[in-house]
């Protein structure tokens, strides 16, 4: 039987329309102020170009880090019954709700030059993370990795363990099973998780500016450049904002079937 669509009550429809306008109007505001004719010039401005390049480097780096560390973590959370697993999961997901600025302060106090761990990194290895591109990558990974872990863990959970058992009875070792059987089966989750992580990393501002500082070509990613350009060069700030907007739309569209079934 076909589902009959009902008309919403007027009050509900009005409030819903307000909500839609609330989301759409800012975007229109951004688009109508966009200097379309000068966009090419704005996007080749050295500050903008450096920010674009650096944002790609840092967001891809953060996503790679999330893959390398987040995949094993997701597996541990989904496939083992380690005591304290729930606590671990809560801790891992905390950065999703934690204000990124707080994350930045925490990173500084942990990995800064005088930080809990950072002082030893500095003393023993001469490694300092703040004010380096590595610092920016870490800040982005801190904020974005939970997205990867949560999506991949969900993918693993929904995967029938009998596939793994079958592979094991056929003599496959655990790592082979994971690489040849599990990973291909959860590939959609891994890709979706990576896309979300990448998009979140690309937009990271608070933790980055606090932990990694702000230097053109080194730690000044697109969001930081937008913040600075806004003070002197509105056109450049809008051009960068449009780039990030376009990327967000692409990510959204490519994930639509998975996350937003119509």
């Amino acid at each position: 039987m076909r589902h009959r669509r009902r008309r919403p009550p007027v009050a509900v429809a009005v409030l819903a329309a307000v909500a839609v306008a609330f989301f759409v109007v800012p975007l229109v505001g951004l688009l109508q102020r966009a200097p379309w004719s000068e966009l090419a010039g704005d996007l080749t401005d050295p500050v903008v170009r450096d920010a674009l390049r650096l944002s790609i480097v840092c967001s891809v780096g953060a996503t790679a880090l999330a893959f390398v560390l987040g995949l094993p973590l997701a597996w541990v959370l989904a496939r083992t019954d380690l005591p304290g697993r729930r606590l671990v999961r809560a801790l891992v997901l905390l950065p999703m709700v934690l204000p990124p600025v707080v994350g930045g302060v925490a990173l500084l106090l942990a990995f800064g030059r005088r930080g809990l761990v950072g002082q030893y990194l500095d003393d023993w290895f001469g490694i300092t993370l703040p004010f380096t591109t590595w610092g920016a990558i870490l800040a982005e990974a801190f904020v974005a990795m939970p997205f990867f872990v949560i999506v991949v863990e969900a993918g693993l959970r929904s995967l029938d363990t009998r596939y793994e058992e079958a592979a094991a009875t056929l003599g496959a070792r655990r790592f082979t099973t994971f690489r040849r059987v599990v990973l291909p089966l959860i590939a959609p989750s891994v890709i979706a998780g990576a896309a979300l992580t990448w998009a979140r990393a690309l937009g990271e501002f608070g933790a980055t500016i606090l932990f990694a500082g702000n230097l053109q070509g080194k730690t000044q990613t697109m969001p930081l450049a937008i913040f600075v350009e806004l003070q002197t060069n509105l056109g450049g700030a809008i051009a960068l904002s449009l780039v990030l907007l376009a990327v967000s739309i692409v990510v959204l569209v490519s994930l639509r079937d998975r996350w937003f079934p119509a």
Binding site: G112, R113, F131, L215, L230, Q231, T232
Partner: protein
């Protein structure tokens, strides 16, 4: 119908006239007053705010401290400020040019730069030239921010060329990187080092390579509280206001 309209108009006009004196001169300031001020004014304006509220108990002063360049952008985009106090002339001029702040600007204080170093000056920094030493982590204010612009001028005067590790969003953020030990040195205002109360050390920059920062102030044209805004301006320029600014290390205008 027509008569009712006339009557309504008359009532509205009367109400309007009655409301007028509240915003005209000579009236006692009251209501909310929002002051947008350079980050370097944080401590001094906080103190002046308390005095101002004591003098005018009906006024509630709120502050928005940030880089003057950022504040100027916010005001030009219609932020609900009543007063704008900038750490340089350029950013105030930007708002006057945009028609968001009413001229003339009133210079109410001056300031000078100082090298902020870690407590006890472990890197033995004695002058601007020492900042060139390799391995030293120096942070500056960002280019559009007044303290960044002044620092660049001062470094140029001294013939010193440094690559900062970071360009921070305002004077206080720049100083905090030194006080938490992430940076070895930064160039901020004399008043910032003084306000840090010993959590950082300061190294004087000689006058011949230093820069004088002029702090102008103006009333925001669209301000809903012109009376309080003008009273604030007067108070900062008054003997009491100036005395407080001196106490925090500012120089007379």
């Amino acid at each position: 119908m027509k008569r009712a309209f006339v009557a309504l108009t008359a009532v509205a006009l009367l109400l309007f006239a009655a409301a007028q004196p509240a915003t005209a001169g000579g009236q006692k300031p009251s209501g909310d007053l929002t002051v947008f001020a350079a980050a370097s004014l944080t401590e001094s304006f906080d103190a002046i705010g308390k005095q101002f509220e004591k003098k005018y108990p009906d006024v509630n002063v709120k502050f928005n401290y940030d880089a003057s360049s950022n504040l100027a952008t916010q005001i030009n985009q219609g932020a609900p400020a009543d007063v704008f106090a900038s750490a340089d002339q350029d950013n105030l001029q930007k708002t006057i040019d945009a028609g968001t702040v009413t001229p003339p600007p009133e210079v109410f204080a001056k300031n000078r730069l100082e090298i902020a170093v870690e407590k006890g000056n472990p890197k033995k920094i004695k002058n601007l030239a020492d900042l060139e030493k390799s391995g030293l982590v120096v942070v500056l204010c960002d280019d559009p921010v007044p303290c960044g612009k002044y620092a660049a001028q001062s470094l140029q005067k001294a013939g010193v060329n440094i690559t900062p590790a970071s360009k921070e969003e305002n004077a206080k953020a720049t100083l905090s990187k030194v006080s938490i030990g992430e940076a070895d040195a930064s160039i901020v205002y004399v008043t910032d080092v003084k306000a840090a109360k010993g959590s950082t050390g300061g190294v004087r920059i000689p006058d011949n390579v230093n820069v004088v920062a002029s702090y102008p102030m103006g009333v925001v044209t669209q301000s809903q509280n012109q009376t309080a805004a003008k009273a604030w301006e007067q108070y900062v320029l008054s003997k009491a206001g100036q005395k407080t600014l001196r106490k925090f290390g500012f120089l007379p205008p």
